[in-house]
Amino acid sequence: MNLKTYSLLAVAILAITACNKNATPAGDGATNAPAATSEAAPVAQGLVAADGSSTVFPITEAMAEEFQKANAGIKVTVGLSGTGGGFKKFCRGETDISNASRPIKAEEKDACKAAGVEYIELPIALDALTVVVNPQNTWATEMTVDELKKIWEPEAQGKITNWNQVRSSFPDKPLILYGAGVDSGTYDYFTAAIVGKEHSSRGDFTASEDDNVLVQGVSGDVNALGFFGLAYYEENKDKLKDVKIKANPAAPAVEPTVENARSGKYQPLSRPIFIYVNKKAADTKPEVAKFVEFYLDSQNATDLVKEVGYVPLPDNAQAAFRERFAKREIGTGFTGSKIGVSIEDLLKEKLVY
């Protein structure tokens, strides 16, 4: 090949891509619009777009995997933009379903409203935040919420640095802390539940968005204490020890398990996690409605959720949210992260759009 052939080839490729660039806005605009129906580009046919929280990702991934096996023509994509990033796309109408590890925030509600995006809020599972210590830690088998608050509140910074400051019967050993990254929904919920104020804690702990780093840290240090989602503890039971939680000094110490979270005994560190469904997409795109119904199906919502390490909702709650979706009830029952929400509370919430 001489140079002439090369340059001809390059020009041809450029020309083709340029043509395609021009054609893209129209075609893709239709793909992204929630109202897109059969006239959309062939690529978009039967496409369900989900995006959002990395905490909820494994559940939606499992659902999408099984759903596509059962419904060959329909494609489901799942992104990993984080709860906040997911809501941004959702409220612009770019996605059909938004995964969220916390309820929708006021400013996100306003953004959705401004864009005319009506959403259906569906709690789909519970996550039990687990406080863990090193397996060689013989003293901290159970702790009260007050003791955890003493460790994690902002005033503890630089002061509470020894285990015996937490409880006098604990040994004289340095206290090394690991926790979820401050941008995560996990951190927000933990601080709200333990410190009493969302997004407020001491700053002198090892924070990581990657929970595997926390697992490594706590399993390598006898004096360490950390917290993260139950799934990470369940997968690393040989390297870590869980701490039973007492809601108050008089309450019984409860172990973080699927059963205890499901029955509502494990408080206040159980949190609901959600999907938000675009109502218009559910009404106009049959594949979206079909996927959400598959998601809420009692067998899937129990078995698949359990398989990926989360706590399924009790049967009555599952039935109630199935009904909420069938009636297409829009709005949210939350204003900020609520602490210690029992399943009954979840069901009684009044929805506000």
Partner: protein, 313 residues
């Protein structure tokens, strides 16, 4: 400033033999230092690759390459990821190489030498150091949102092409600059015009250097995660883009450019952060294959460069 004065002040009190010894010693010291740095770098790289192989090699088989991602680590694969990476790289190369070479040739051979050119030159060099996430944000704002092109293979290709464009421009200019001025003068002397000189003599002579720039650029692009995540590449995707070849006229089809996609680094990123140990093994295996893909791509470019060099003689 005569040298005798300088030398007398510096060399006073030193015998010639001592000076020689000193020079030899510093020479030897530098050689040892260089060797140490090289060994340390290679050791780090070697340890990394060995760790990847140790963790992931046993996981790689036909099924891993031909399966979609799954919630079960054992049955998960990277089909959509490696196809996505390959297609994005094709778009990136098709855009970045011609544009980068053309811009480099223009700046070096055609552009008048004035302050505008200097300004552009400084900016191109600076662009090579801009963090990749900035390109991702630019693409998100411009291509995805303003131009509503969506989160597609085409947008990812354009973004990565922009990212590596400065590398290609600089490489093209450097290799053009290295060509002796005599060649240009000889060509003009034979009556060739500017374009004939560029296409007939300069570009063929510069091709090996340009290809080196392309290798460096493409190797950077294939491992990029941040800009691709920013423009919204997906993480779970269990289907392939439409085929570029079809049975009816015109036999090629560019629908794949507008398809949603995922790439290898994103798949790795997702698996590394999962709780199950099986996914961590998958991530190591994905890393190995990404390494192999980079080697394959560079191997092809090096082979091409070798052939071009041979033809040049």
């Amino acid at each position: 400033m005569s040298t005798p004065g300088l030398s007398s002040s510096r060399f006073d009190g030193y015998s010639e033999a001592r000076l020689l010894k000193r020079a030899k010693w510093s020479d030897g010291l530098f050689a040892v230092l260089g060797l140490l740095v090289l060994v340390a770098t290679l050791l780090v790289l070697g340890a990394l690759v060995a760790d990847f192989i140790n963790d992931g090699a046993s996981r790689i088989d036909g099924d891993f390459l031909t399966s979609y991602p799954s919630r079960r680590p054992g049955s998960a694969g990277i089909l959509s990821a490696w196809v996505g990476t390959t297609l994005v790289m094709i778009v990136t190369a098709a855009l970045a190489v011609p544009l980068g070479v053309a811009a480099g040739v223009y700046l070096e051979e055609y552009a008048p030498k004035n302050w505008v050119t200097d300004f552009i030159e400084i900016n191109v060099t600076n662009l090579a150091g801009v963090p990749s996430i900035i390109y991702g944000l630019l693409a998100l704002g411009l291509f995805v949102q303003t131009l509503a092109m969506g989160q597609t293979i085409l947008v990812a290709g354009i973004t990565l092409a922009l990212l590596i464009l400065p590398i290609l421009i600089v490489a093209t200019r450097e290799s053009l600059r290295a060509i002796p001025q005599d060649i240009r003068e000889a060509s003009f002397g034979l009556g060739a015009d500017q374009w004939q000189t560029v296409s007939g003599y300069l570009l063929p002579a510069a091709r090996p250097g340009i290809l080196t720039g392309a290798i460096v650029g493409m190797s950077r692009a294939i491992g990029e995660t941040a800009p691709i995540i920013t423009i919204g590449a997906l993480t779970f995707i269990a289907f392939l883009p439409p085929s570029p070849i079809q049975s009816s006229f015109p036999f090629v089809n560019f629908d794949w450019l507008n398809s949603p996609f995922t790439v290898m680094p994103i798949q790795m990123f997702n698996w590394v952060s999962r709780p199950q140990a099986g996914f961590h093994i998958n991530a190591a295996a994905t890393g190995l294959i990404l390494l192999a893909m980079t080697l394959l791509m560079n191997g092809f470019a090096i082979w091409l460069r070798y052939r071009l060099r041979r033809n040049l003689r």
